[in-house]
Symmetry: C2
DNA sequence: GTTATTATAATTGTATACAAAATAGTTGAC
DNA sequence: GTCAACTATTTTGTATACAATTATAATAAC
């Protein structure tokens, strides 16, 4: 099978941008990237094209591609959208989830609790992601699942910041409990509302998100 | 300003694929496309890369890119997703819509009615699209609006088929009326439910969609 | 000193050339 | 006649070369 270095380069570049390797509005020099990755400009250009479509960079024709970190407004819009998407997943999953998946969900939730008890933020982060991805999957809609996963990844760095807030983990666990109950009892509306509130950026979460923006996007 | 033929080629190719110029699973020969568009393979490859990300074609590394028309399952999944997205737009728009937009919406709806009376399917199609896009916009969430527009375009050919069904237009108008009322009275849940039902593929719509699939994707 | 203008350099976009891999075709064995 | 192995051809993926455009610097006018 052909290596397709362009594809791997796109994924690596995506990571670098999300992690914050490049500052916002920075031009991504094709030649320099080519040198850095040890390839010619061709696969670099294909990778940048891919990132353009997914919205991580912006291409100004004839002038280059530039890193495009979302500003406060767009970030809030993305979180609002994410909250609604998760609500949809919950609504559908409440009617479609399998017993096996419910069991896995309970396990992931238990692992979350354990992580909170041990103050293991990384473990919490991992199990929490699993919890949510299980719900996406159990929506029974593969297209929806993919969209949810894409957005989840896109918002990853900002969500990670939120998790480190004091007391946030315990609050989050209580919300998980409500979600679990709604799914167990096959209550679509309750599941939707619980997930929407769980993901939505409200109250103090808002201020912390704004504060984190200053650190990353400046 | 640089022409960026790759960009225009991507859009034209997208149209051709959506219209059905190529059959499903057909390999898109880079050299032939280059000849057809009068360019080299380079911009063709960039265009295909773009289409790959948006899901219209699939790239098998080393083997080429292939047209990827959605099958029945994926199509239903996309419609279900679209229904939920529109419901979200309606829920948010019910609280955020401006008076001016409400007026525009009423106008678009009136134009729809007029088109039905005149049995002008094209006019109906146009005004109906405007009606929905206004609601996307009035969700007040630009990110959501963009996602809704993308999906709307993607489902365009299939929606068009549905509109030509006997009696579908009148039924659709009644649903528009319910949507208008919910938005006018600022009732988020009613707006969401009305829009979800309006877009969802249920009952006889399902069979007609399946029937249309045989015609296009074979 | 500031602004226009021109020339130079750097960079993007496209074309072509080449390397690697997959497909198709051919030959040979059984 | 069928299957396998080898060869030839086609096609993808990458590198390089060139053209078009934009950014930068230098010079001149005021």
């Amino acid at each position: 099978m052909i290596t397709r270095r362009a594809e791997t380069i796109a994924k690596e570049l995506e990571k670098l941008i999300i992690v914050g390797e490049f500052s916002n509005h920075q031009r991504l020099d094709e030649t320099k990237l080519a040198m850095r990755f040890g390839v010619s400009r061709t696969p670099i250009r294909e990778a940048l094209q891919e990132l353009t479509v997914s919205g991580l960079v912006e291409r100004l024709p004839g002038r280059g591609v530039f890193v495009r970190q979302p500003g406060p407004v767009e970030l809030l819009e993305m979180f609002e959208f994410m909250a609604e998407i998760e609500a949809i997943c919950g609504r559908l999953a409440a009617l479609r989830i399998s017993d096996a998946a419910l069991k896995s969900l309970r396990q992931a939730n238990a692992n979350c609790l354990e992580a909170v008890a041990q103050r293991d933020a990384d473990a919490y982060y991992r199990e929490n992601a699993l919890f949510h991805k299980l719900i996406y999957q159990q929506s029974g809609n593969g297209f929806l699942e993919q969209e949810a996963l894409k957005l989840h990844d896109r918002l990853k760095p900002y969500r990670r910041i939120q998790l480190h807030l004091r007391g946030r983990m315990k609050q989050s666990m209580a919300e998980h409990e409500a979600i679990m109950q709604a799914l167990t009892n096959a209550e679509p509306n309750k599941a939707a509302i619980a997930l929407r509130n769980h993901v939505a950026v409200q109250g103090e979460k808002f201020y912390h998100l704004m504060a984190s923006l200053k650190a990353t996007s400046q």
